[in-house]
Symmetry: C2
């Protein structure tokens, strides 16, 4: 019995190897080494453990499988083909890495069913999986084993474990005790430059153990040893690392075990030799029926499990999975009406917390957090409870001083479904989590980033902590909405936009200092959704002043000064460049007018060409900030109403 199973599993694994080497060869591009090296581990994992149903790829209680070493994408595509995912036919494998195929060079979320996350930038997969495993724990605490009870499995390479983000991820997972997270490390001792001993001497098992993980090692080409290790990992209450000792490019007799096999086609001769070595008698892209049958038995097992699950799930769980936000607009409108009466003069970070009281009371599925700046980011609303290793029923995560790990974990929580994450840090530290923010945008995952202390208004902490080029660099990321509200009303509108977003991340940037309410007359419409709109609209215009966030106040003062001199100035508040850019030409023309323009933002000018031509004026920053109280900095850098007035007058 054991022998038969082993033989069948070897065939199943060799099918992965053959498809990987053939697809890479045909594309003349790609990475055969990892899929061939990890084929045995992946086969045992899928054959004996994983519960997924290719006919229902979004089944909420499926096991999650994350290929953190995304360059080994052919491992995933081969498995999906063999399992019978409807959108992964053989033509997709033949068109590996070609324009328009689902089989991109690295797995791209949304390109094909079953791709749980975009991986490729190393370390992102393992860090995202921590968010998935955390979401599983949180939903399990809310809805019981009957509804939510599954594992998150990760295949990670040496690169994933060398990247800094892995440290943030494994520490957070170890602290929280995410016992249903199982990481299989492709321990092949090879990186692109050569042997791993060129650049690392770390004892990874000891490292993970130091972070509170269960660790083990196995021969990654011994099916029973692999199975034993996974079974033990599933059983242990801690997250688990399995060091799978593998030979990169296993099966290619002349190239295996060498770094040349990592990222280049094997070549026809070596592929022929590998076919011989593996006793694989089939043509390229040919899979024998018995191998298909073996893989499809896994799919059938998953479908049966899903059918059982469908019978036992609760109505409460089903209703919650949708993240229904339909009640939010009315709640935000009521809140805006109240604000227009109360006219609070508060920092927009405080306004954000006020909006969160409404948001979190209306939407039970939000998950807040901060990278250890809760009291500064004001991300915790009054009813929120912290998640602890002992109790996952809370809704607030102390991510620690781990901006990158936080952002990736939020991606994982959002991808998992049924929860809507947001998290905060100082805006200057957006740089620390930029790779994960980019992945939110590339995947179109509606994560909300709360970035406070959004300019030199941060003050005394100085230029390392003051955003300057950050607005430009973040607006540069495609498919990311950067909202910079000017007052409590715009902040509430930003939160509405963020929570209603289904296909893009939103970043809400906010001030440290108090700002007066500009939107004193209640308007039901979410004006911020237009990106920019007229806050002050004189019958005739001599000049148009355009500002964002804290600088709108300055522009309004400048407009008053100009008015006193008989110059009519319109003032445009522009909380979101991307949304303004999406408006039709007529709207944009109406807002911008034909008079000379002056922009104002306590940041560099880059990106303002959406509003300004080269001859238009701009009052902002030209270089890094400095350490001093904020009012002194505004004066020092000349971001003043008088500067706007001067620039306006010189252009009329």
């Amino acid at each position: 019995m054991k022998d038969i199973q082993t033989t069948q599993e070897t065939e199943m694994a060799n099918a992965i190897r053959a498809l990987a080497m053939d697809a890479v060869q045909r594309a003349n591009s790609g990475h055969p080494g990892m899929p061939m090296g990890m084929a045995d581990v992946a086969t045992v994992l899928f054959n004996r453990f994983i519960s997924i149903d290719p006919s229902a790829p979004k089944w909420p209680d499926r096991d999650r499988f994350v290929l953190s070493a995304g360059h080994g994408s052919m491992l995933l595509y081969a498995i999906h083909h063999l399992l019978g995912y409807a959108d992964m036919d053989m033509d997709q494998l033949r068109n590996f890495r070609q324009l328009g195929s689902r089989t991109a060079g690295h797995p791209e979320y949304g390109h094909a069913d079953g791709i749980e996350v975009t991986t490729g930038p190393l370390g992102q997969g393992i860090a995202t999986s921590v968010g998935m495993a955390l979401a599983e724990k949180m939903k399990n605490a809310r809805y019981s084993d009957d509804n939510v009870n599954h594992f998150t499995y990760v295949i990670a390479g040496d690169g994933c474990l060398m990247e800094g983000i892995s440290h943030e991820a494994i520490d957070l997972a170890g602290h929280l005790g995410l016992g249903k997270l199982v990481v299989m490390w492709d321990d092949n001792a090879i990186t692109i430059d050569g042997d791993t001993n060129l650049s690392t001497s770390t004892d990874q098992q000891a490292r993970f153990a130091a972070a509170g993980w269960h660790v083990s090692a196995c021969d990654g080409h011994d099916m029973e040893a692999i199975a034993d290790a996974i079974a033990a990992a599933r059983h242990d209450p801690r997250p688990s690392l399995i060091a799978c000792r593998t030979i990169i490019g296993f099966g290619a007799p002349n190239k295996q075990g060498c770094h040349d096999v990592h990222g280049a086609p094997l070549g026809d001769a070596e592929i022929a030799a590998a076919r011989k070595q593996l006793n694989w008698a089939y043509e390229p892209f040919e899979i024998p029926q018995q191998t298909y049958d073996a893989w499809r038995a896994i799919a059938a097992r998953g479908a049966a499990k899903r059918a059982e699950w469908e019978k036992r799930i609760s109505a409460e769980f089903q209703a919650a999975e949708d993240c229904d936000t339909s009640a939010l607009p009315a709640a935000i409108e009521a809140f805006k009406r109240q604000l227009s009466q109360d006219k609070p003069k508060v920092a927009t970070r405080k306004a954000s917390q006020m909006a969160l009281e409404v948001v979190n009371a209306t939407l039970p599925f939000t998950v807040g957090g901060s990278a250890d700046l809760t009291g500064s980011n004001l991300t915790k609303s009054s009813e929120m409870q912290s998640v602890t290793p002992q109790d996952f029923s809370g809704d607030y995560i102390h991510y620690g001083i781990r901006e990158h790990g936080m952002a990736a974990a939020m991606n994982g929580i959002a991808l998992h479904g049924g929860l809507k994450p947001y998290g905060g840090t100082f805006m200057a530290f957006a740089d620390y989590c930029r790779p994960a923010i980019r992945l939110s945008a590339l995947m179109g995952v509606p994560v909300t980033y709360v970035m406070t202390h959004d300019s030199i208004d941060l003050g005394e902490d100085g230029p390392t902590h003051q955003p300057d080029e950050h607005l430009a660099s973040l607006r540069a990321i495609p498919n990311l909405l950067v909202m910079r509200p000017t007052d409590a009303v715009e902040t509430a509108e930003a939160w509405e936009i963020a929570m209603m977003s289904e296909d893009k991340p939103v970043m809400i940037v906010s001030s440290r200092q108090n700002l007066p309410l500009q939107r004193v007359d209640h308007v039901a419409e979410n004006l911020s959704a237009r990106g920019a709109y007229l806050l002050r609209d004189p019958a005739q215009r001599d000049v148009t002043l355009i500002a964002t966030g804290s600088e709108v106040e300055i522009a309004m003062v400048a407009a008053d000064q100009l008015e006193a001199e008989g110059i009519k100035a319109a003032v445009v508040s522009a909380p979101c460049f991307e949304l303004f850019d999406a408006q039709d030409q007529a709207y944009r023309n109406a807002i911008l007018g034909t008079a000379p323009r002056v922009g104002c933002e306590a940041a560099i000018r880059q990106g303002w060409d959406l509003f300004l031509d080269r001859q238009d004026g701009f009052v902002g920053m030209k270089g890094f900030g400095a350490s001093a109280p904020a009012p002194a900095l505004y004066e020092h850098f000349g971001i003043t109403a008088q500067a706007i007035v001067n620039q306006a007058k010189s252009r009329i």
Copy 2:
């Protein structure tokens, strides 16, 4: 004897505490907790071990002291004042965090003598110190103990150790066995949000041990225990971590040990109570003479050590310290002349390697490296030898898959002096090291970043690996030169600019694919230093085409097509926006002309307002790339000569 010393050291430490709490109180802003908590450790370190000479703050063989937990800046400023640094008089401490003072909120390199590195963004200090310790090893291997033989000491906080960059740093240091690196961890169990157990359970000593470090722990308020731990650390051949068990805000009787003391003034009442508790009878900003005397004995010891060193150093070492680049321009000019004859059609990453053959043969102090992409970045020239844990005489670093650690280490190597580092990765992964790149720019450290595969020309690896918004986001960083050469000549010029730079980092971005030589006629002048120049200059212009890097070839083809239709097109090659922006108005006007303009770059338009108004044309990217062979992608995204022709014709 022991008691007297202890008493004196306690007084010395209390002087730090008093200055820290008084300066923070006066500024009404800052972080008293860390300086008060670590005052004893810092006092023992300086009093018994550190060799520095405040009268010669740039003494090459001084011990380096890095305050990685930069928010505790008053620790550093207080020590520098007490030691007698000439530029750190009491008025500087009184003006802590005020505009124009040397005492910025976080230590800023260049603001005052003895500040070895800008810290504040957490983890950067420890990662930079790895580069410093590595530079020490490399220079020691070249010039012997007589010339180079010193320690690098770091004070790091919990935040430094939670950030991912710390993982990259400690693994690299452990692998290389940087035994003269000693990290004192302020193990106070407190972060901003509260107790560290809110977010971490990592056994830091076990973690560092797993990375090959020597580890120990001590009571951070027991002078002898601290001294014993530092002595053992200095003796051990591995890098050392000392877990210093401290009480944050030590001495403030009602607040110490609590997270409230981390980042806010203590208040007058608590300061008075602390004075009592510490038996510190002096007024704010008053230091008794015997305490000054004790601190200045450290300075005198350092000055004597330096005097001894001055007597024994070699002429060879002295000559090398300057990093004399004066021979480079002639070498580059000769190389350019050769290129104009050979007319190589090579990828600019290959051209970069060709230029490096010249650079590295001319400048013996360059230190190359790559984040595990040596064969792709082509950063290793033919004569380079890899640095290994056994042999530091080489000049090439295998940084591992650690872009962030690499960038910070390069900052450290450059700051150390006497060596000129460059290092490579794929340009898309500039995001992974962005915080350290920003620090290079903020400090004005002339590090060279080699970023290859600079657009969709990367091809099949897909959008995660393709730069798109990266040119914009990197050009946004103040004081960073981003060079995007179009051919081998411009690449050689970029390397000249990078190597001659003394006050800013330079990033050289380069193509994966082959590009023809555009600069076919030899010009001695470094035209790239103008930022942009006319590559094709018809007697009269109907349109001006502006392009960078690989798209210059496309613009030249478009100009030919336009010419065939009787339209005169000038072509501007614009390898560096920042340098063009620095030219005078007359030059810029002459280059840009008055005809309509079309820009072309395989990236987003943001940042092109330096050249274009809103009505001008742009051929580039609007969103993320895709996975396919590069030629298919250029067609797919419409970055073609025909697109330029169409945009040009529609504007004439």
